[in-house]
C-alpha cells in the first residue's frame, strides 16, 4: 500500500507539498473530494434535472422509482439536456475569452490601448485575408480594426457560417452540412442550446446531441480559434523556446509572482512590468535578487509558449504552490481558479489579486484590468508584490525544476519540418511515426494527479506515436521530462529517428486549452495535403484527467471534427445507455468518429493504438495488429 500522498499524485513536488500542507493544517482539493463522497449517483449519471421549478426531478436508474420528470422527460432527454448544457457552458467560456481578445484588438486598432500592439503582422495579414479583408497598401491598424469588427460579427449570426470553419477539408464541411451541425454563429449556438434545453423545446435526445456538436464546433472553429489567432496577432506566434517546470521554478532569493488563469491580456502586461528596469531596481533595493514571474495553468501556458516563462504547475498544483510560502503575489484572471485559493493565502504571506470584471473570489483583492489601465495597474501590482517580499516567512521549495521546450505552434511545427507538412506525412507513410495523438485537458482529483497524462503519453511515444499536448496535460508531460531534445530516449526507434533528425522532443507543447485549435488546424492541414477527411487520418485525442465543462466542449469538437477521442473520467451520461451507445459507437455512421471512456491510461493507450492502426490500414499503410 502506497502512502496517501503517493496515491494522490505522481509528482515529487506534489507529494512533498501535500505533506507540508497537511502539517500546516491547510485543506486541499483532495480533502474536499473525500468529504464529498459518496457523490450523488443521480448527478453522476446525469439523471437529475434542475432546469425548471416543476422540479427538481430525478430518474431512478433501477427502474422502480420515477422514470420521468414532472414534465415527462425520460432518462434519455434528461441526460441529453444536461450534457447539452455542459457543452454550452464550455463553449461559452472559451468563446467569451476569445471575445475579450477581439475587444483588445479593436482597442489597439482604435489607438485606445497604447501598451498593447500588433506583434505578428504576418499573421494579421493572413487571417484578415481569410476574412476577405483587403490587405494590400493599407495601414496595419486599419486592417486590425476591420478584422476585429469582422470577428465580432462572428459572435452573432449575420453571415450564417463561421469564416475559420473554411479551414476544414471540403469533405468534412459537406458532412457537417448533411448532419445539420455546421456552426453558424459563436454565441448563437450556445444561446440556442440554452433555448433547446428549456422545458418544452427540444425533446429529441438525438437532435439535442447533434446540436451539442454544432455548439462545440462553434467553439473549436470559432471562439477558441479566434482566441488563439488574436493572441498570436497581439502577442506573437509561439516559436520553440526552452523553459523550466514544476514548483522548483520558484526562487528563494527573488520576488515570486505567479499568474494563474487563462487570458494573456493580463499576464502579458504583468510580464512587461516584471521586466522593467525600475521594478528590478526596486526589487534589488528590497533585498531580492530579482523578480521571478512564473505561471500556473493556461495563462502560464500562454507565457511559456511565447516567452519561455517558467511554469510552476497545473490545476491540482494551484493550491500547493501557495503552500511553499514563497509566493509574494498571485494574480488571477478567470477559469479554473479554485475559490479555495483566497482562503489558503492568509496561512502564508501571499497577496491574492483578482483582475477580471467577470471573476471575483473570496479572500482576493479585486483590481480590475482594462486595456487602457493594464500597463499601469500591472506595474502597481508588481510594486506591491516587491514590497511584500520582506513579509515572507520560511519557504519550502523542495525540488529542482525540470527543463522543457514549449512553443510549438502550427507555424513552428511546419517551420521545423522545413516549411511544409510533407516530411511529417512521409514519416507517417513510412511508418516511422505511426500517427499523432493530442493528449489534452485538465487534472481531476478523481484520477491520480498527472498519472493519466504521463502514462498515456509514455506508452504512446514508446510505440512511435507522436504526442502533441496542451493545457494541464502539457504541463504534466513537461514535468515528467518528456520535452527536452534528449527526451527522445523515451521514444520508439522510428519516432526517435525523426525527432532526433529535426531536433525536437517526441512530445510537442502546443499551448493552452484554447490552443487545442492549433491541433485542429494541424489536422486539417494534414488532411488537406492528403486530400482526405480528418477522420481518415491516423489521429486520436485523449483527455485522461478532464474535469471542466470546457473539456466537454473540446472533446465534442474533436469528435465532430473527425478525431476519435478517449476520455478518462466518466462523463455524466450513464443514466442513458442510448446516449452511451450513440456517443461510443453510433456516431461513427454520422460523423466518422466516436468517443471512448477509459480511465486506465494503460488501456486507453491500447484503444488509441488500435484505432490509429485501423486508420493506417484503411489508408493502405503498414499496420500493426493488437
Amino acid at each position: 500500500m502506497s502512502s496517501k500522498y503517493d496515491q494522490r499524485t505522481i509528482t515529487k513536488d506534489g507529494q512533498l507539498l501535500l505533506r507540508k500542507m497537511e502539517n500546516d493544517q491547510v485543506e486541499t482539493v483532495w480533502d474536499r473530494l473525500e468529504a464529498q463522497n459518496p457523490q450523488c449517483g443521480y448527478c453522476e449519471m446525469g439523471l437529475s434535472c434542475r432546469i425548471c421549478a416543476m422540479g427538481p426531478c430525478r430518474i431512478d436508474p433501477f427502474g422502480e422509482g420515477p422514470q420521468r420528470g414532472v414534465c415527462g422527460a425520460d432518462a434519455d432527454i434528461v441526460v441529453a439536456r444536461n450534457l447539452g448544457r455542459m457543452i454550452a457552458a464550455g463553449a461559452a467560456a472559451h468563446s467569451d475569452h476569445g471575445r475579450d481578445l477581439v475587444e483588445v484588438l479593436a482597442e489597439v486598432a482604435a489607438g485606445r490601448a497604447p501598451e498593447y500592439s500588433i506583434t505578428d503582422e504576418q499573421k494579421l495579414m493572413r487571417v484578415a485575408g481569410e476574412y476577405g479583408i483587403k490587405t494590400e497598401e493599407r495601414e496595419v491598424l486599419e486592417i486590425a480594426g476591420e478584422l476585429a469588427s469582422a470577428m465580432q460579427e462572428e459572435f452573432g449570426t449575420r453571415k450564417g457560417f463561421l469564416t475559420m470553419a473554411n479551414r476544414v477539408p471540403e469533405k468534412r464541411r459537406e458532412l457537417w452540412k448533411k448532419a445539420g451541425i455546421a456552426p453558424r454563429g459563436i454565441d448563437r449556438e450556445t444561446s440556442e442550446m440554452m433555448h433547446r434545453t428549456h422545458m418544452g423545446v427540444d425533446n429529441g435526445w438525438q437532435s439535442l446531441l447533434l446540436h451539442g456538436f454544432r455548439n462545440a464546433l462553434s467553439d473549436g472553429w470559432g471562439g477558441s480559434m479566434i482566441a488563439t489567432e488574436v493572441s498570436d496577432i497581439l502577442f506573437g506566434t509561439p516559436k520553440p523556446t526552452p523553459n523550466m517546470v514544476n514548483i522548483g521554478v520558484l526562487k528563494e532569493d527573488e520576488v515570486n509572482i505567479v499568474v494563474h488563469g487563462h487570458n494573456p491580456v493580463v499576464s502579458e502586461m504583468v510580464l512587461q512590468a516584471c521586466e522593467s528596469a525600475d521594478m528590478l531596481k526596486l526589487a534589488r533595493d528590497k533585498g531580492a535578487k530579482g523578480i521571478n514571474l512564473t505561471g500556473l495553468c493556461c495563462t502560464g501556458n500562454e507565457l511559456l509558449m511565447r516567452h519561455g516563462i517558467p511554469m510552476a504547475g497545473n490545476h491540482l498544483m494551484t493550491e500547493l504552490v501557495i503552500g511553499t510560502g514563497a509566493v509574494e503575489m498571485m494574480i488571477v484572471d478567470y477559469q479554473c481558479i479554485m475559490p479555495s485559493l483566497g482562503a489558503i493565502a492568509p496561512c502564508y504571506h501571499t497577496k491574492m489579486i483578482s483582475t477580471s470584471d467577470k471573476a471575483r473570489f473570496p479572500g482576493m483583492e479585486h483590481r480590475e484590468f482594462h486595456p487602457d489601465n493594464a500597463a499601469e495597474l500591472a506595474r502597481q501590482l508588481v510594486r506591491e508584490a516587491i514590497e511584500n517580499f520582506d513579509q515572507r516567512g520560511e519557504s519550502y521549495i523542495p525540488v529542482q525544476a525540470t527543463p522543457s521546450v514549449g512553443g510549438f505552434s502550427v507555424e513552428a511545427i511546419i517551420g521545423a519540418l522545413g516549411g511544409t507538412p510533407q516530411p511529417l506525412i512521409d514519416a507517417i507513410t513510412a511508418g516511422k511515426i505511426r500517427g499523432a495523438v493530442g493528449v489534452v485537458g485538465c487534472n481531476n482529483p478523481k484520477i491520480k494527479h498527472d498519472y493519466g497524462h504521463v502514462i498515456l503519453t509514455k506508452r504512446l511515444i514508446e510505440n512511435d506515436y507522436l504526442v502533441v499536448d496542451t493545457g494541464c496535460a502539457a504541463i504534466a508531460n513537461a514535468k515528467a521530462g518528456f520535452k527536452m531534445a534528449e527526451s527522445i530516449k523515451y521514444a520508439g526507434p522510428g519516432l526517435q529517428e525523426v525527432c532526433g533528425a529535426l531536433g525536437i522532443p517526441p512530445v510537442l507543447h502546443m499551448g493552452s486549452c484554447v490552443d487545442n485549435v492549433r491541433i485542429l488546424v494541424l489536422a486539417a492541414a494534414l488532411a488537406n495535403a492528403l486530400q482526405v477527411d480528418i477522420s481518415d487520418l491516423p489521429l486520436a485525442g485523449a483527455a485522461p484527467e478532464w474535469y471542466s465543462e470546457k473539456a466537454v466542449s473540446i472533446g465534442t469538437y474533436f469528435v465532430a471534427s473527425g478525431v476519435y477521442t478517449v476520455l478518462g473520467p466518466m462523463p455524466p451520461i450513464t443514466g442513458s445507455m442510448n446516449i452511451v451507445k450513440l456517443l461510443t459507437s453510433g456516431l461513427n455512421d454520422v460523423i466518422g468518429a466516436t468517443f471512448a471512456v477509459e480511465a486506465d491510461p494503460e488501456k486507453a493507450a491500447l484503444l488509441i493504438q488500435r484505432h490509429i492502426e485501423a486508420k493506417r490500414k484503411a489508408l493502405g499503410l503498414s499496420s500493426r495488429e493488437f
Partner: protein
C-alpha cells in the same frame, strides 16, 4: 409489522434521506425553515462512503435485544411496545456515550435537539418516524428514496422479493443476469478502476 428495510446495492449516495430525516425531526417540518432553526436539526440516518465511494445508508437496526439499551446507565433507552422501536428519553439521557460504545453500527450522535431541555446535549438516533407513522405517513427517509434503497415493508416480503430477484439471475438455461442495470454497472466499474489506479506504483 412493516419496518424500514435497507437495500444498500440500490443506494446512489444522493443523501436525500439525510435531508428528509433532519427535516422530519425539526420543529417546523419544512426544509427551508428547518435550516434556520436553532438548534439546527440533524439527521439520524447517515450515508457513508464505501470502498469505491458507493453510498451506504446507515441507520439504527432497532436490535432485539438492543446492546445500547443494555448499556444505558440512566435507563433512558427503552422499547416502544407497539412498533418495537428503540427510543431515547431526552430528559433521562445523561450524554455518557455508553450507548455509542455498545452499538455495533455506529448510528448514535450527540447534539442539542429541540425535544431536549435547552442547551442539553443528548444521544439521538432513528426513532422510525413514530410521529409520522401515527398520522399515516411512512418514515421520511423512505418517502424520499426514489431508487428503492430504503423501503417500508414486512421483512418477509422484502426477503421474498430478493429471493425472486436472485433466482432470476441464476435461472438455468439463461445467461447469468446482473441485478444491476448496465448504466449503474458502468459507473461502478469506473469508480473501482479509479481506486485500483490510485494504489498502483508510481513511476
Amino acid at each position: 409489522m412493516r419496518e424500514v428495510q435497507v437495500h444498500p446495492e440500490r443506494c446512489v449516495g444522493c443523501m436525500q434521506c439525510m435531508l428528509a430525516c433532519a427535516t422530519a425531526h425539526s420543529q417546523t417540518k419544512k426544509l427551508y425553515t428547518a435550516a434556520d432553526e436553532s438548534p439546527l436539526p440533524k439527521p439520524r440516518i447517515h450515508v457513508g462512503a464505501g470502498l469505491h465511494n458507493e453510498g451506504f445508508p446507515n441507520r439504527c437496526h432497532h436490535c432485539d435485544p438492543a446492546p445500547c439499551m443494555l448499556a444505558c446507565l440512566p435507563g433512558a433507552i427503552f422499547r416502544d411496545p407497539d412498533t418495537g422501536t428503540v427510543l431515547i428519553d431526552p430528559d433521562l439521557c445523561i450524554n455518557c456515550a455508553s450507548c455509542a460504545m455498545a452499538c455495533p453500527f455506529g448510528v448514535l450522535r450527540y447534539h442539542q435537539d429541540w425535544v431536549a431541555p435547552p442547551e442539553k446535549i443528548i444521544a439521538q438516533k432513528c426513532d422510525n418516524c413514530i410521529s409520522r407513522q401515527q398520522i399515516g405517513l411512512v418514515p421520511a427517509c423512505v418517502e424520499v428514496c426514489k431508487t428503492g434503497a430504503l423501503t417500508f415493508e414486512e421483512s418477509d416480503a422484502a426477503l421474498k422479493r430478493k429471493t425472486h430477484e436472485v433466482a432470476c439471475t441464476i435461472a438455468s438455461g439463461l445467461e447469468q443476469q446482473s441485478l444491476i442495470p448496465p448504466g449503474v454497472e458502468l459507473l461502478n466499474l469506473a469508480k473501482k478502476q479509479r481506486l485500483e489506479m490510485q494504489n498502483r506504483q508510481n513511476l
